[in-house]
């Protein structure tokens, strides 16, 4: 359904992704992890077609997002929902208007009452019933993420992507968001792609884990196997010992990785 084939991407002299190949399993949750600056967000942006690779293919539902014209990109994107890091809610609109935004644009046949009913339903699902008319400025960080999540799922997409669902949240809200992801996967059968550097939360929600490091995909395994891997970078990451060399050029110097 979603597959990256030999994707490479550079910004100027800075190589972000090197020959990444990755097939996302349908109906399951895949987490892409790695330290900051390793290309996790860039990978996600390739999947939704916000960035195009320098070489390689990004296949989503049979469309190559790397070369498809804009109209085809938009067709594929309607099957996606995405939660951005701080929710990316529109400040000028109320909570309800934010969540119904995709419906207004892509389901014009719905009446306003129908839209409202649907939005209220999604708000209840993310644990925030009754805030339809509130301005977005009155929301806390965790609430913004939940509203962003409600907006991402309001069109009942087949794939939902999360950009750092836990960043900047306190542990309790963070756990609540993780629990929400697990519940929704059970209830809706959606394919989830989560990028994160929060290892504990990731192990709890993900069926598969892909680890990026220095622009390379160093492992892609089911979670149970992933945590058993005897790879120095993964061991360090799992041990939450995040003192890792920064630049991509340092990768080669690490033991166990040629």
């Amino acid at each position: 359904m979603i597959e990256l084939r030999n994707v490479s991407k550079s910004f100027g002299e800075n190589t972000i992704l090197r020959d990444i190949s990755l097939a996302i399993p349908a109906g399951q949750t895949t987490a892409i992890i790695g330290p900051s600056g390793t290309g996790k967000s860039v990978t996600l942006k390739h999947i939704v077609g916000l960035l195009r690779p320098d070489s390689g293919q990004v296949l989503c539902f049979g469309t190559d997002m790397a070369s498809a014209p804009e109209a085809d990109l938009y067709k594929v994107r309607r099957r996606f929902g995405m939660l951005f890091q701080d929710g990316a809610l529109f400040d000028s609109m109320s909570v309800g208007a934010n969540i119904s935004f995709p419906l207004v644009h892509h389901a014009p046949e719905m009446t306003e009452a129908q839209r409202r009913e649907k939005v209220e339903e999604k708000l209840a699902l993310v644990g925030l019933p009754g805030i339809y008319d509130r301005p977005t400025s009155s929301l806390s960080g965790g609430q913004r993420k939940r509203v962003g999540l409600a907006r991402a799922i309001v069109t009942e997409p087949e794939v939902v992507l999360f950009d750092e669902p836990n960043s900047g949240l306190d542990p309790i809200t963070s756990d609540a968001i993780d629990a929400l992801i697990s519940e929704m996967k059970e209830a809706l059968g959606i394919t989830f792609i989560v990028i994160s550097h929060d290892i504990v939360g990731t192990i709890n929600v993900a069926d598969h884990i892909a680890m990026l490091y220095g622009g390379n995909l160093i492992a892609f395994k089911p979670t149970k196997e992933f945590v058993q891997l005897d790879h120095p970078i993964i061991r360090k990451f799992l041990g939450r010992n995040l003192i890792l060399p920064e630049g991509p050029n340092d990768v080669a110097r690490l033991p166990g990785l040629e």
Binding site: V48, A71, Y74, F80, F84, D86, A88, D91, P102
Partner: protein
Amino acid sequence: MKAVSQALAGIGQYGFWVRDFCRAVVIHGPPKGQTLNEAFRIGIKSLPILLIISGFVGTNLALQGYNAFKPLGGQRLVGMFVSLAGVRELAPIIAAAMIAAKAGTEMASQIGVMKIREQVDALEVMAVNPLAYLVAPRMIGIMLMLPALTIIAIFVMLSAAYTVSVYQLGLAGHEFIQFAQESIEPIDFLYGAIKAMIFGLIICTISCFFGFNCGKGPEGVGQATNRAVVTSSVLCIILNYFLSELLYGGAL
């Protein structure tokens, strides 16, 4: 050298951006129900400040016109001077500079903030074209409102100049009106409106362009806003010369 190549690269980028914008509008069309909001924001909210500025430019036109013509004994020509300078040049350019300062900066900063907070990406991912959704209503709004504001500025400027000429400088009211009528024609109002529409086009595309190409963080938004107002007002003022040459060149 570096500054020149940067400027040239910027012009090229702007050209491509305008092309993308035109294409987006042709394919997607402007969103429904946004344009009136934008017209209101641009027009009605800028009106009070426009009234004040154009009024007080009119007063000074009268004062300096009087000073210029008095030694020659031609102070009756104040009406003519005010009409030509005010109607043809100052009203359009003052309305444009003010809209650049008020609506243009608002466009650059709003879109810049949306850009750095990933709201522009969110629009893309929700399969809504950001150029058509964000820029087209602002463009229509400004092109409707700026000509209207220019015509209002003309009347306010002339009324203020008339008031100063007659009640402060003691000139004859009917002479002021007679010379004003002889020096300008109805077509001048149309030309003013045409100038205003072209200025609106420039202010909107430049401001939105800088908003969309905003750098990272709050500093990026500040810089984008600053560049938007400086670039668009300088461009309008330079272009005003060529437009006047083109529209009035033969008549002068």
